[in-house]
């Protein structure tokens, strides 16, 4: 027995020696802190002053999702649009400082008095990368393809009416297009940012019926003609990298008249997770990296030696949130999707409010986001000053277990038999299954925190994370779930969320595909979204969306938790970096590699040596 103990002690000592090397120690300040000053924040539009750059070089960026396709019409995931946005310009683009529409392939656009007919004037100096001129025909072809029923396209629904109404798109002349809408649309100019595709290249594929599956991951530069600054050269799935090369016929020039973009190449390296991406950045292999709050203490001290700058760009658009199944429907076997007594809790506003009060958002920010985050109470974060439509007076549910208990008691949920657990009037224990998807570390931890928070209230939680598609098939098809933690990315334009908040939609996750809104407040949200999109006056729209957030705040169908700070580290070797609230490298065509001294490529206007 003595030997056994000796062995155990030895093993423990060996392991301690191993693990002790990394004990960060108590009361000891980090001694490698060479960091100085405050974090860089997003700049303001007035400071945006690009300089003449040098040509050449490659920018490297790590990305977590692999592109499934480079088809700008059929694929809408960010893993595709990261690339297609650089290739296919829209008629307009979003101003990175204000989120207002800005000219791109169109020079101007104006509505008639009815607000239904818009005339859009196109640039006449744009050519596709293969030399063909860009014209109104490409615009017409793009919208034809979007409306083509044989081609899956998610943009179609956004620009179609409930009864299949469409926009009519007509060619006025080679560089003028007229859009006739079926109803007034406040975000029409934003919708014009949809990428325009080359008719002369894609039309044969559409006619042959092969377009829907064309431009997969084996597409190369030969398969595209683009207007944007970069073009996908090839996707090497074996080594997991996407090469994008310079479009020599890109239409923009710099102040000196040299043809942009400056960079020769952008390389996207696909990595497993954000920590792998971070190590690549730390080892100097990549030039830009979105930092997680938990990695910040490792990165901040390296700013100088690693020659990079970390920008804090305010609350991220997305947040993890908790929601309960409020579906009143029944399955094919006649059984209700949700056990009736549980459904009664979940549909009770007080229950959701109580849960909201019980969530320790400060802890989520401190522990999971390493103090680099913001509590969030509604779909738009009140802490983000750049969000024009964010309601600053949303109801806030600051951590308060007493309020939570009082609300639960009001609806009859209290500990009736002294076991520390809550029961309802009929004696049912307040217990349910909480789920989320595996594979997202932050979300898992938020869900674990929520589980523990709710158990503190005396609820009995069965925590059961599952694979993403298993979970989604429950949320979307079989409805046999009770409570779920999910995350969605949000944007500054509320109407993009219409397909979540309208009660008849697929993404109305707490009770999707409702034929008639099941509550008065859901009906009102439906009305507000219909009003909001038809209202062309920005101030009035704002009031409409304030009202919507007010309702969501009171009803808590989604119980939001916290939004992480958007942190980006950018290598100082990149020039013309002006991170904006709505775009980090929004001016990618002007970004250049300092010290790259390549001459201006041949296709640039003659006589212009590269700015040195």
């Amino acid at each position: 027995m003595k030997k056994t103990l000796t062995l155990l002690v030895l093993a423990a000592m060996g392991a301690s020696a191993l693990l002790a090397g990394c004990d960060r120690g108590t009361t000891r300040r980090s001694d490698r802190s060479e960091a100085t000053g405050e974090m860089q924040t997003a700049g303001i539009a007035e400071e945006y002053a690009p300089v003449a750059g040098t040509f050449g070089g490659r920018m490297v960026q790590a990305t977590i999702s692999e592109p499934k396709s480079f088809n700008p019409i059929t694929s809408s995931e960010t893993s595709t649009s990261d690339y297609t946005n650089l290739m296919f310009l829209g008629l307009t683009k979003v101003d990175p400082w204000t989120y207002e529409p800005q000219a791109e392939l169109a020079t101007r656009w104006e509505p008639d008095e009815s607000g239904l007919v818009w005339t859009v004037h196109l640039r006449d100096d744009v050519t596709w990368s293969d030399g063909a001129p860009f014209s109104a025909d490409d615009v017409l072809f793009t919208y034809d393809t979007i409306y083509n029923p044989d081609i899956p396209c998610s943009t179609r629904d956004i620009i179609s009416g409930p009864n299949g109404e469409r926009w009519a798109v007509e060619k006025v002349d080679a560089h003028t297009v007229r859009f006739t809408l079926y109803e007034r649309n406040a975000i029409f100019p934003l919708l014009l940012a949809t990428g325009i595709v080359p008719k002369h290249r894609f039309e044969p594929m559409v006619q042959a019926g092969t377009f829907a599956s064309a431009l997969g991951s084996n597409a190369t530069a030969r398969d595209f003609a683009v207007t944007g600054p970069f073009i996908v050269d090839r996707y090497d799935t074996g080594t997991g990298r996407v090469f994008m090369k310079r479009n020599p016929r890109y239409y923009r020039t710099d102040a000196a008249g040299q043809r942009l973009p400056y960079l020769d190449e952008i390389l996207f390296v696909i990595v497993k997770d954000s920590s792998a991406a971070m190590l690549k950045f730390r080892q100097g292999e990549t030039d830009i990296h979105g930092i997680q709050g938990s990695d910040y203490p490792d990165m901040k001290p390296l700013e100088r030696s690693g020659n990079f700058t970390i920008y804090g760009l305010g609350p991220a658009g997305g947040s993890e949130f908790l929601f309960f199944n409020q579906n009143t429907g029944r399955g094919e076997d006649g059984k209700p999707y949700v056990v009736p007594h549980k459904l009664a809790w979940f549909r009770d506003t007080r229950f959701r409010q109580a849960v909201s009060y019980a969530i320790d958002r400060q802890f989520i920010v401190a522990s999971i986001m390493n103090n680099l985050g913001y509590p969030q109470y509604g779909p738009m974060n009140h802490a983000n000053e750049h969000l024009y439509f964010a309601n600053p007076n949303m109801p806030r549910y600051e951590f308060d277990l007493d309020k939570a208990r009082a609300l639960l008691a009001e609806m009859g949920l209290k500990d009736r038999n002294g076991d520390g657990k809550l029961e309802d009037a009929a004696g049912n224990r307040v217990s349910f299954t909480l789920t989320t998807n595996t594979g997202n570390d932050v979300r898992m931890r938020v869900a674990e925190t929520i589980r523990s928070d709710l158990e503190r209230l005396g609820m009995e939680i069965n925590f059961r994370p599952m694979q993403f598609n298993t979970l989604i098939s429950k949320l979307d098809a079989t409805y046999d779930w009770e409570a779920c933690v999910m995350g969605l990315t949000g944007g500054p334009e509320p109407h993009w969320g219409a397909n979540i908040w309208r009660s008849d939609t697929r993404m109305h996750m707490w009770f999707p595909y409702q034929k008639e809104p099941s509550t008065e407040w859901e009906a009102e949200i439906n009305r507000l979204f219909a009003e909001g999109v038809a209202e062309l006056d920005r101030q009035k729209r704002r009031e409409i969306y304030f009202r919507w957030q007010q309702i969501v705040g009171e009803q808590q169908p989604f119980i939001y938790t916290a939004a992480p700070e958007r942190l980006t580290a950018i290598r100082n070797t990149l020039g013309n970096v002006f991170p904006a609230p709505f775009g980090t490298l929004h001016n990618i065509d002007e970004v250049f590699l300092k010290g790259a001294s390549g001459p201006a490529p041949a296709s640039a206007p003659a006589g212009n040596a590269a700015g040195r």
Partner: protein
Amino acid sequence: MPESTENAPQTAASAQKAMSPWAMVWRNLRRHRMAMLAAKVLLVMYGVMLFDGFFAPYYYGDESRLHSYHPPFNLRFFDSEGRFHLRPFVYHSGYEFDPVTMERIWVEEDDKAYPVQLLYRSEKPTTILFGLVETHWHLFGVESPGRLYLLGADFMGRDIFSRLLFAARISLTIGLVGTAIALTLGLLIGGTSGYLGGTWDNLIQRFCELLMLIPGLYTLMILYNALPANWSSVELYFGVVAILSFIGWAGLARIIRGMVLSIKTSDFVMAARAAGVPTRQIIVRHVLPSTLSYAIVSASLSIPAYILGESGLSMIGMGIQEPVPSWGNMLQRGMNVTELSRHPWLLWSGVAIFITVMAFNFLGDGLRDAFDPRTIGLKGKKAE
């Protein structure tokens, strides 16, 4: 170091006649120093597992959010003035964020010391004997709000040492239960198959092969996802064991069938059959006991596979779920390299897995040597 029994003195041969086979196995095993050591280590571990709540200072779900990611080894013998205390103590501690780097800075308040108390009675109850018995007693502990973190804390401020002990409930039993199921199935099906031979043998063997054809990890993943979503952690545990042994039994059955095949043709079975002993009796009385030694050895050697299987599944998020700890799901966070380099104490459960697996390997090795027909005559007929 494992002591090989290859050089077991042949002089013992005369003594062997007087001993029963089991006694001989025991004697051989006792000679195997490392195997005995391993057995003792395992005994200690299983003992601690049974009374986990008593040995652990905290219940596995006991969190303290102000101590999120508390570093390990906060037990002190010397106070801030350098005075030695025979009775170790912990300082009350908390963290703040460095305003620039957001590094957590842990500060110990040296006016608030909490001595470690032996046989400490806690406010909150804990459980022992697989959660069947509730108790308030701990072998040691500190007064709240002092927190004792021998091996550090996880993100909810839960004590990793305590969770390590509670996790043994899952990780140490899953091997036994899984092996028991797989072995029972393997012995019955493999034994039957080998003994009956002919068409039955053919069918059973093809079925086993079929099961083995489908790669294990993938089957595990897919089957795990097919488990009902509302299962509690206990049900999930048995679900995982069932899946693991579903993968495991076929291989075992094939090997046992092979052994039975050669035993079948051995003299004593031939004799029994000639004497008209019923088939079932031959299987149960003669064939199975002869394979039992193999079964025991292979069982002790296959236990690690179950422990590793559960850990692997849990690591990729498909095992026992939070808040119930298992050595595998405690490692899950460690898959993130940056998380690991900031909080390497998340690796402790890997050390626990390693020690357990090594102990089972030593024990299995010792058993194999102890059962070796060259040193004893258990399977005598075959080994001449």
